[in-house]
């Protein structure tokens, strides 16, 4: 299993290096994700995240190195089960960065299926994004993610797991359409029943349909708190 994790990480980093003619960025991303359960299958999800750039134009003639804060996200979601393993969510995200504030409204549907040796989540979301002096942007996203315990058939405290997700983000702004593809492998650890931490890579490529692609590779750290 360790060999498979290293293989995935190697493939992602190789893919990143192969597109030297395009725009490339390496950075850090970290999120704290707090989920609180209420009665009658209501949940509240609060997420705070931060992104920092490490290197811009990584393979260019003049790469820009240095830790630079890009943005901070604050999001709040209310979710409700519609059937046992299916939930709908309404959310709001505010993103502060580059001296600007961006507002997003999210509508989301998630299906989480438990199989013998792994869990699978499929998520569809629709986003509306407002930013000053820019046209309204719409996004339609589909993400599939799998969580694989590395010991036994469920994730217990003090156990590791593997998480891999793949997401397709369609974006429309005015007459412009773009597609972003994301691939994110993680290694996670169940600290306790309530806490999980993950570290991994989040690779994103966009603007490849009509232009030079933009590649971004984030070293990602997540902390999940389930209350």
């Amino acid at each position: 299993m360790i060999r498979q994790i290293l293989h995935i990480l190697f493939v992602v980093s190789c893919a990143f290096q192969l597109v030297a003619q395009s725009s490339n960025e390496l950075g850090l991303m970290s999120y704290v994700n707090v989920n609180k359960k209420f009665e009658k299958d209501w949940n509240l999800n609060l997420k705070i995240g931060n992104r920092q750039s490490l290197v811009r134009d990584l393979f260019g003639e003049y790469p820009q190195r240095g830790l630079e804060n890009i943005r901070t996200d604050f999001s709040l979601f209310a979710t409700q089960s519609i059937i046992f393993n299916q939930r709908i969510a309404l959310g709001y995200i505010t993103i502060i960065g580059d001296g600007e504030t961006q507002h997003r409204l999210i509508q989301q549907y998630a299906l989480v299926s438990k199989f013998d040796d792994f869990s699978l989540s499929q998520r569809v979301s629709v986003n509306q994004i407002w930013k000053k002096d820019e046209d309204l942007r719409f996004r339609l996203r589909y993400r599939i993610a799998s969580s694989i315990p590395l010991n036994g058939q469920t994730i217990n405290p003090s156990e590791f797991y593997l998480k891999v997700s793949n997401e397709f983000v369609n974006s429309w702004q005015g007459d412009t359409y773009d597609l972003e593809i994301r691939l994110a492998p993680f290694v996670g650890y169940g600290i306790s029943k309530m806490h999980k931490v993950e570290i991994g890579l989040d690779y994103r490529i966009n603007s490849f349909l009509v232009d030079s692609p933009t590649n971004r590779l984030w070293i990602n750290l997540n902390w999940y708190v389930s209350l």
């Binding site: 994700n33 999800n45 036994g152 998480k163 997540n222 389930s226």
Partner: protein, 193 residues
């Protein structure tokens, strides 16, 4: 102070609370290697002669600890459970709803309809109890031999009091309820958000 009228109202409600899903199932399991499994359990599995790899787990429940061997045989998923001393406790074989005789299924359906406002059967297993050798012959022949008990263990997910729950039911072959336990599911926030 409760008067007699209050007790008449209160006591049945109290009993209803107990007779609801009062038992809870929370299990933690870890993968173990063959050399960590009791010798008796290994011998029983050898006698079964499964032709696919057998995975071993040690399960820690609220009340007990067991060893479980999981494998696939003739296209079906098998789960063989042993005590910590290696005594065979039961054999469970995954099956589908259509394998349950209609009269038994109807009886189960009536009970489930009384417990849930809506539900579906998530997992169905045939459970065999009895002497290991007789059980092995019974399973291989497909005939229920004397001394072997056949039950149905069914995980049902459904709506109870405006929230969704997963409940494990154990029914007799005739469809009579033996016990039920609410399953405490692991949180999946890390793949939903």
């Amino acid at each position: 102070m409760l008067n007699r009228k209050g007790l008449i109202i209160f006591f049945p409600l109290f009993l209803f609370g107990i007779c609801g899903f009062s038992q809870v199932k929370y299990e933690m399991e870890i993968s173990v290697k063959e050399d960590q499994v009791p010798g008796n359990a290994l011998k029983v599995i050898d006698n079964f002669n499964f032709n696919k790899k057998v995975k071993w787990y040690k399960e820690f429940g609220l009340d007990d600890t067991t060893y479980e061997a999981k494998t696939k045989y003739q296209g079906k998923k098998y789960s063989v459970e042993f005590s910590t001393e290696g005594s065979l406790e039961d054999v469970e074989i995954r099956t589908k709803e259509k394998s349950i005789p209609t009269p038994s299924l109807n009886k189960m359906g009536e009970l489930l309809a009384s417990r849930f406002s809506k539900y579906r059967l998530r997992k169905i297993q045939i459970q065999y109890l009895g002497d290991p050798n007789v059980m092995l012959t019974s399973i291989r022949s497909g005939k229920l031999l004397p001394g072997v008990v056949k039950n149905y263990e069914i995980v049902v997910v459904g709506k109870v009091d405006k929230s969704y729950k997963a409940i494990e039911f154990l029914f007799s072959e005739e469809g009579d309820l033996i016990l039920s336990r609410e399953i405490i599911e692991r949180r999946q926030d890390h793949i939903e958000f």
